[in-house]
């Protein structure tokens, strides 16, 4: 969305259009006047004037964004105790103010930007440089378990809305100087800080460059959530399938960074972006890697089966009962026929009604307060399902099909992929109702072709199944045990492929060494 500057907005002084007053004046009063005009009607901007020796000084900050204690001790107290020697910015910076992160600047607009980000500006009368002190505070949500990605085994930390906390969480995981974080700001009004993370030597340099180029191209007034960035930089915005993954968990992000991907953390949202992605990544959950491989293999196979069911089951049912009755086993056919005796709708309409009702139920369930949520959903499902069958509006097999489909779509670990599948179900159902099994095959071929054609930042979306790479499949349909995952995936990492030493498992000699000797 391009920024449209109409005549109206030019009346209000905007920092970015106002290029005239960007120099810090020596006179404190002039500076304060300029600032007060910019921050007119911003009642949360505080101007605290005090005396340093013989000079007037002023700190400007936004109430609620700073750590008051820090400012109190390290700036105010420190300055008031300063001797009355001649002051210069260097002395103030080097000797007096004892806070970790301090910057000096000559530009007024830099001060304004920093004040808006939660820093404190220090202006001293007579000096035409100002100091920007980083003493951020304020209350944000604390680190808690992410609600959208719960695990049975694994860390329970989740990202929060603060950029620094999030990058710190990732630093905890990857303690290497090769983990680079490039800071950028997007959004004219929101001035959102973002950080682009990658591991130098693992991520391909072209990829990092491309990501930075795309982000730099963004010119938008607000970036409130990583989703804004996601849609602005993804390859094919029209496609139903997401090409960028998002996660609330630092361990997921760290694991992906170590496989050569690039992460984007956005201030103000706990959801970090991971790119590039493939289709099969959306079927992987982080706890697959923490459990032993047996259960991971089982769960992954189940997920693959159920993603197919979630897409095709209602369509197959419609197609077979409407056009291909000879394909059902005879006894099943009689059950279906007997339950459909009194139903007034044809199979396709019935399926449509049930599916739409189910989607509405699910959407409503999100907004139910947690206390009554459980009871209402169970009762609703039972009562609606049972009552509808008894009233003869829908048939019992249809209720089974719809609930199976609903369950199947919940097995998909990532929400954005689950949505895509749920949406795609309807066109395939329509195709099945119109063309029969032929329609299902047609629709599936379309989807498959689209998936193979899609690329996410240069990586084919359907690899390692699309361009077939048998070696990589050991992490797709199954999860090879950790001692077998000794190489990084080759789609994203070109050099430095080896991740593990070979033959790390305890050898027979080692194992049997422990056996003897115990009583």
């Amino acid at each position: 969305m391009k920024l449209r500057r109409n005549k109206q907005s030019e009346k209000k002084s905007n920092l970015h259009t106002d290029k005239t007053e960007s120099q810090v004046h020596s006179s404190l009063d002039e500076n304060i006047d300029i600032l007060k005009e910019l921050f007119e009607d911003c009642s949360d901007v505080i101007y605290r004037t005090f005396k340093v020796g013989s000079h007037q000084a002023c700190i400007i900050f936004i109430d609620g964004l700073i750590d008051a204690n820090s400012i109190q001790f390290h700036v105010l107290d420190a300055l008031e105790e300063a001797s009355r020697e001649s002051l210069s910015i260097e002395i103030v910076k080097d000797k007096i103010v004892s806070i970790g992160s301090v910057k000096e600047t000559e530009k007024l607009d830099a001060i304004v930007k920093d004040i808006l980000s939660g820093n404190t500006g220090l202006l001293i009368d007579g000096l035409n440089e100002a100091l920007i002190v980083d003493a951020k505070g304020g209350s944000r949500r604390s680190v808690a378990e992410p609600e959208t990605e719960t695990v049975i085994r694994g860390p329970r930390e989740g990202f929060t809305e603060s950029l620094r906390v999030n990058t710190a969480l990732v630093r905890h995981k990857i303690r290497s100087n090769r983990l680079k974080m490039i800071a950028k700001t997007v959004g004219e009004e929101t001035q959102t800080n973002i950080a682009i993370l990658y591991v130098d030597g693992l991520a391909r340099p072209e990829l990092v460059k491309e990501v930075m180029a795309r982000i730099e191209k963004i010119e938008i007034d607000a970036v409130l959530e990583s989703g804004y960035i996601e849609e602005l930089i993804e390859d094919n915005s029209w496609s139903l399938f997401p090409q960028i993954q998002n996660t609330e968990r630092p361990d997921t992000l760290a694991a992906n960074l170590l496989e050569g991907r690039v992460g984007v953390i956005v201030d103000g949202t706990p959801f970090a972006l991971i790119l590039p992605t493939t289709f099969w990544q959306f079927l992987q959950a982080s706890e697959d890697y923490y459990h032993r491989f047996h259960i991971s293999v089982f769960l992954r196979v189940i997920r693959v089966i159920f993603i197919f069911l979630a897409l095709e089951l209602p369509a197959i049912y419609i197609a077979v009962t409407t056009y291909h009755q000879e394909m059902l086993p005879t006894n099943l056919l009689f059950s279906v026929a007997s339950s459909r005796e009194a139903i007034p709708f044809p199979a396709f309409i019935e399926a449509l009604i049930m599916e739409v009702a189910f989607e509405a139920l699910r959407e409503a369930g999100i907004r139910l307060p947690k206390v009554i949520g459980q009871a209402v959903s169970i009762l609703g499902a039972l009562v609606i399902g049972q009552a509808a069958v008894e009233a003869g509006i829908v048939s019992a097999p249809m209720v089974i099909i719809v609930s199976l489909t609903g369950i199947a779509s919940f097995t998909i670990p990532r929400f954005n992929m689950a949505i895509s599948i749920r949406l795609l179900r309807f066109p395939i159902m329509i195709l099945a109702g119109v063309f029969g099994l032929y329609g299902i095959v047609l629709g599936s071929t379309f989807i498959l072709t689209h998936l193979c054609k899609l690329r996410s930042f240069g990586v084919p979306y359907f690899s390692p199944l699309g361009p077939l790479n048998l070696r990589e499949l050991r992490d797709v349909f199954i999860r090879a045990p950790w001692w077998a995952l000794d190489k990084r995936p080759s789609q994203t990492v070109k050099d430095d492929v080896r991740r593990q030493k070979e033959n790390v498992r305890p050898t027979k000699k080692q194992r049997s060494g422990l056996e003897g000797g115990n009583a």
Binding site: T321, T322, Y323, Q325, E326, T330, N331, L333, F334, S335, V336, A337, S338, S339, R340, E341, A342, I343, P346, A347, F348, V389, E390, G392, S395, A396, G433, V434, F435, G436
Partner: protein, 385 residues
């Protein structure tokens, strides 16, 4: 690129005009035929009878099912139509049906006796040509009229068609494509099971039920004769289907012995004797001793040998009687001609092809049985009180 995709879209959308949305058939608009019976009347017209289940009284939970299953009829009904050929009979039948006849689930074909004796070729042809019909349907002959047999109720299964099918599975199942193959094969004749009505064996209950015991031996596509009680097991022997069945034979005046067969294997050996083919049929039967009325002890090798000898005699009698009868009538049910066709084709073509039935009459066949009793379930010791 955009133009191409628009063009493609237009093409696809216009192909919806070719579609089947109005070919849509609801599950409840079809009458699923489970079993059909074919009869021939005196004046040469065909009579086709169908057995159709009533879905509303089958299975089905909750909804308005329930009624109709009480008392008399089970959840099915039988109707028939007649005409000059099979299709006309179907049309006659359809005129009285509110739902379209759907033969894709028909799994049993019953051929009436009169029709079978005149030739089943046309029926099998119908099954072969119609794409809706299954070539895996069982072909069964009925003694008497097929229509009567279709009406018989069976107490275990809800639908008699299912009952007939299950019975055929345990004895000898001959599917349509197998019967067709046998008819067309030079030198082998087909066999199909026979069902008949039999009176209920419970005192105080009258009525009739289905019984499947004997087999019909074909010659070409006509039924040649029906086996009697002694010959019927032999059919199973020759078709390797005796596994799980038992034979009973007298051992001495004290009683009979029952053996259950757990393995049987049939092989044929061929020799030329004086320019004529001679066959030996070898059957190896392994069995378990089930019932031992004379209380003999099989530990003694002499007694064991005696029992085996009696067993082999019994089986030999059965098989020989069947083969003699069949060959006398001209049906080669063991497939000796087929063996010759495959292994000695030039000679077959030259000498025997044209009148193999005549050759059968003086075909020398020896039957050799090799019997074995592997396990015993009782040791033959008298239970002392």
């Amino acid at each position: 690129m955009r133009r191409t995709s628009l063009l493609l879209l237009a093409l696809i959308l216009s192909s919806t005009l070719l579609t089947a949305c109005w070919d849509r058939v609801e599950v409840n608009d079809l009458a699923y035929v489970l079993a059909t019976g074919f009869d021939k009347e005196e004046d040469g017209t065909y009579r086709v009878s169908v057995q159709v289940p009533l879905p509303s009284s089958l299975g089905g939970a909750g909804s308005s099912g329930g009624g109709g299953g009480t008392g008399e009829d089970g959840p099915y009904f039988v109707d028939s139509g007649s005409g000059r050929n099979i299709r006309e009979s179907n049309d006659d039948l359809q005129a009285r049906m509110s739902r379209k006849l759907y033969f894709a689930h028909r799994r049993v074909v019953i051929v009436g006796e009169k029709m079978a004796k005149e030739g089943m070729g046309e029926i099998l042809n119908t099954i072969l040509i119609q794409p809706q019909s299954r070539l895996s349907s069982f072909i069964i002959m009925s003694k008497g009229e097929a229509l009567e047999v279709l009406n018989l109720k069976n107490r275990l299964e809800q639908l008699p068609g299912e009952a007939i099918r299950e019975m055929a599975k345990t004895s000898l199942e001959m599917r349509a494509h197998e019967v067709l193959q046998d008819i067309k094969r030079p030198g082998k004749e087909g066999v199909i099971p026979v069902i008949e009505k039999s009176d209920k064996q419970v005192k105080g209950e009258s009525g009739q039920e289905i019984k499947m015991q004997s087999f019909a031996i074909l010659l070409g596509d006509k039924v040649n004769f029906i086996t009697n009680e002694k010959e019927s097991p032999a059919v199973l022997w020759l078709h390797n289907r005796m596994r799980g069945k038992s034979i009973t034979f007298p051992y001495s005046e004290e009683g009979e012995i029952t053996l259950r067969i757990i393995q049987d294997k049939v092989t044929k050996d061929f020799r030329m004797v004086n320019g004529k083919p001679a066959f030996t049929v070898k059957i190896k039967a392994t069995s378990t001793l089930m019932e031992n009325e004379p209380y003999i002890s099989l530990d003694d090798p002499k007694i064991y040998k005696k029992v085996i000898k009696k067993m082999e005699e019994e089986i030999t009698n059965q098989v020989e009687e069947l083969l003699n009868h069949a060959h006398a009538e001209g049906s080669d049910i063991a497939g000796f001609g087929w063996y010759l066709y495959r292994n000695h084709n030039p000679t077959w073509d030259e000498k025997w092809k044209d009148d193999w039935s005549a050759h059968l009459k003086d075909l020398e066949v020896k039957v050799e049985i090799e019997g074995e009793i592997q396990r015993m379930t009782n040791t033959g010791m008298k239970v002392k009180e």
